[in-house]
């Protein structure tokens, strides 16, 4: 028994010595690639796929937002013929649930996957707030198609955000656009806001409020509810007591649906103008909000201002998935994926046998160095703090509360329909 154990041990020791020797001084022919990147390299052997991941909200009331962006990435992969540098592209997904905790969990899982080359995501600013540190520290870089919270790409955002860029607009633009729409177009002077405690909504309503005051308007109430609140009538009664002419709630789908469904029941708010933003720019709002959504305003990226071939994208989307787009950031996701592929093609070191090495720092720098990139949302250039979007915001009006009629890119009967600018 002892003898056999000894034999086994010696075999193992011998084997490990041989392996160590191989690792230390590779006996591979020709010039093997030596990775000198401070964050390391990802090796993709011949026949192996290039692994990218999409992380975002894929469950719960906001799943349309994440699903919509995921489709944008999938179409971008299709357009590449499913291949980058001769390797198949493997897309996996991780659900962040639109919460900081969910984002942290998803990011931790992704950070531990050493085969990952790059990421697209997240959907909700909260997910990024929760998860970005883990991804950055793992040497990964993610491009978000739909995070809009301004501070995420602030020059003073801190080193945790080194691996973060986005193709979505910052809400510094969106909040301002809505304020101008309300003050100049609707000619209202008294506005109230409501947020759901999310990083997105909190910041956006504040930008709106600041800009609205700058234009000369008054903010009569700024309230907030919890993200899982359902009974909005008390808080709406409080808002009604302040007597607004314009009520802005740039929240997510759950709260947005409940507020819209209940708002006309509250004395004093029967006719107030109501508006939301890109977080509820989805047919799911019509399901939750019902008939009250008719005439509601929603701000969103201006689809008609996209300089690229958006119509062609919509064709591909129709052919692949049928039906209308689900939310607003599919084109931004398509662009984000293409920026990632372009950077990948630029920095990847290709060996004769087809093996590729992707140096992580170089990839990150290539993404941030993106300049005059012809995307479908516009001509994109990234700022040193990761802002790559070409923001043009429009305000749309919901024409019909039937979810089946949702089709913002329809030529004949767009719903919602662009009304400003």
């Amino acid at each position: 028994m002892n003898k056999r154990l000894f034999a086994l041990l010696s075999v193992l020791v011998l084997a490990s010595m041989v392996l160590a020797a191989c690792g230390g001084a590779p006996a591979a022919p020709a010039a093997a690639y030596e990775c000198t990147d401070p964050l390391g390299c990802v090796k993709v052997a011949p026949g192996e796929p290039v692994h990218i991941a999409y992380w975002g909200v894929l469950s719960g009331p906001d799943s349309s937002l994440g699903e919509d962006s995921k489709r944008g990435v999938e179409i971008a992969i299709d357009d590449k013929g499913g291949k980058v540098l001769g390797h198949d592209v493997l897309l996996t997904t991780e659900d962040g649930g639109c919460t900081p905790e969910g984002g942290a969990t998803a990011a931790a899982k992704l950070a531990s996957d050493t085969s990952l080359v790059g990421l697209i995501g997240s959907s909700c600013s909260d997910e990024t707030v929760g998860g970005i540190a883990a991804l950055t520290n793992a040497g990964l870089t993610t491009i978000s198609p739909s995070n809009t919270r301004p501070v995420l790409t602030d020059p003073a955002r801190g080193p945790d955000y080194d691996g973060y860029a986005r193709t979505a607009h910052s809400d510094a633009f969106q909040g301002k656009a809505v304020a101008e729409f309300a003050y100049n177009f609707l000619k209202v002077t008294k506005a109230a806001t409501l947020h759901d405690g999310s990083a997105y909504a909190q910041a956006l309503q504040q930008v709106f409020a600041d800009e609205f005051v700058k234009l000369g308007g008054t903010i009569v109430a700024q309230e907030a509810v919890a993200k899982d609140a359902t009974d909005m009538k008390p808080v709406l009664t409080t808002i009604a007591a302040a007597g607004p002419e314009f009520f802005y709630y740039p929240v997510f789908v759950a709260v947005g649906g409940y507020v819209t469904a209940q708002i006309r029941d509250v004395a004093g708010l029967e006719t107030v103008a109501i508006a939301g933003s890109d977080g509820i720019f989805t047919a799911d709002l019509l399901k939750g909000g019902g008939a009250n959504t008719e005439g509601m305003y929603l701000s969103s990226p201006d689809f008609s201002a996209f300089t690229g071939d958006y119509a062609g994208f919509i064709e591909k989307h129709k052919a692949k998935y049928g039906g209308s787009t689900l939310s607003t950031f599919h084109a931004h996701a398509y662009d984000a994926a293409n920026i990632l592929f372009a950077a990948l093609e630029k920095v990847a070191v290709v060996q004769d046998d087809g093996t590729i090495y992707v140096p992580r720092t170089a990839l990150r720098e290539a993404i941030f160095a993106t300049k005059d990139f012809k995307g479908i949302t516009g001509t994109l250039s990234c700022s040193p703090s990761g802002d790559c979007g070409a923001p043009v915001i429009a305000v749309y009006e919901i024409q019909n509360s039937d979810p089946a009629s949702w089709d913002p890119s329809s030529a004949t009967a767009p719903n919602p329909k662009k009304i400003w600018p």
């Binding site: 469950s59 719960g60 009331p61 799943s63 349309s64 405690g197 700024q222 309230e223 907030a224 509810v225 919890a226 899982d228 609140a229 359902t230 009974d231 009538k233 008390p234 808080v235 009664t237 409080t238 009604a240 007591a241 789908v253 759950a254 649906g257 409940y258 469904a261 209940q262 029941d265 509250v266 004395a267 799911d284 399901k287 939750g288 019902g290 008939a291």
Partner: protein, 355 residues
């Protein structure tokens, strides 16, 4: 029973701190209330609205809380899947009501269009609860108390994710009932019809349940089993049958609550039972768990406090965005009750210690 001076001093100090806490809390509530009322931001009609919103929400809590309290009364067990039973009822009613709406039945017969989905939801929720009891709880009847509790949490997740699997992660809109739109004028105050109908329906349901438990043979048997299972069995009561019918009855209430909830909030989704379930559990503890009138009182108190509290005293205290703290009010009340009156508002009635 002799305690040392040190221990007595410690006791005194602890109760002193607790009393101080109590006084502080009451003072904060009073100060906030006075400040709000002096600010005069709300009209009396708005105050009435707050209370009415609270009553209709509270009566839904009460209906769900009945299920928690009945099962606890009979098995000493918290049925954590109860919130999801509520969700199954709402789903069942949603599909039936959508179909009825499609054929124009609800517009032509608004009362039947309201009652039939409620009845269907009650039957469906009751049936699912009986299945859950049979599969997840009965085999664990003799096990330590923690075991069925864990099983209940498992059942809760199972129901949630089974429904998610069948019907997707999104939400469905409950069909609007035209007859319930608009307001009724009650003593010069406009009150939403749907709120009135929900509150009245909930009170009728509770009255029926109370009648069943107090004045029928089955109810008597339930009370007997809750006093002592062994003695009840010796008296010829089929304990298992009574337990099943308790589950079914509680679940039927939750199913009805699910429909009423959908009538007010017009949304049905797989996760909708979670928060109301926890709130109703809070309500059951608030009223005194195991006590049926207690669950009703607890639900109403909780609903009204949640609705009135943020604007009545949190705003007066100068807290910004008070509605974010709505849940905090509910759970602060729970903690207060557990600290100062563990048996709940009406909890004194359970005097006999049950094994």
């Amino acid at each position: 029973m002799r305690t040392s001076v040190g221990e007595r001093l410690l006791d005194l100090a602890v109760s002193g701190v607790l009393w101080g806490f109590r006084i502080l809390l009451v003072a904060a509530v009073l100060l906030g209330t006075i400040a709000t009322i002096r600010a005069g931001k709300y009209t009396s009609e708005q105050w009435i609205d707050f209370v009415v919103f609270g009553i209709s929400q509270g009566s839904i809590y009460a209906l769900i809380a009945l299920g928690y309290t009945m099962v606890y009364g009979i098995l000493r067990m918290i049925n954590f899947a109860h919130g999801d039973i509520f969700m199954t009822g709402a789903f069942g009613a949603y599909f039936l009501a959508t179909w009825l709406n499609g054929i124009g039945f609800i517009d032509n017969h608004p009362i039947l269009g309201l009652l039939i989905p409620i009845l269907f939801a009650m039957i469906m929720a009751g049936g699912i609860a009986m299945l859950v009891e049979r599969i997840a709880y009965r085999p664990l009847r003799g096990a330590p108390r923690l075991v069925p509790l864990i099983s209940a949490i498992g059942a809760s997740f199972f129901l949630e994710y089974a429904f998610r699997g069948f019907f997707g992660p999104g939400v469905y809109a409950y069909p609007p009932i035209k007859a319930l739109e608009g307001e009724w004028n009650v003593l010069g105050v406009g009150i939403l019809k749907v709120q009135v109908v929900v509150a009245v329906a909930a009170f009728i349901m509770m009255a029926i349940l109370y009648f069943i438990v107090m004045f029928t043979k089955a109810g008597k048997a339930m009370r007997a089993v809750s006093e002592s299972k062994d003695t009840a069995a010796l008296m010829g009561i089929d304990v298992n049958r009574i337990i099943v019918s308790t589950f079914a009855l509680g679940a039927a209430m939750a199913g009805a609550a699910g429909v009423l909830y959908s009538l007010i909030y017009r949304q049905v989704g797989f996760f909708m039972g979670f928060t109301p379930g926890i709130k109703a559990f809070t309500a059951a503890v608030l009223g005194g768990i195991g006590n049926i009138p207690g669950a009703m009182v607890g639900g109403l108190v909780l609903g009204v406090f949640e609705s009135v509290g943020p604007s009545l005293f949190l705003e007066g205290l100068g807290i910004p965005r008070p509605y974010q703290l709505k849940d905090a009010i509910a759970f602060t009340m729970l903690v207060m009750i557990l600290l100062f009156r563990p048996s709940g508002i009406l909890g004194e009635r359970i005097t006999t210690k049950k094994a």
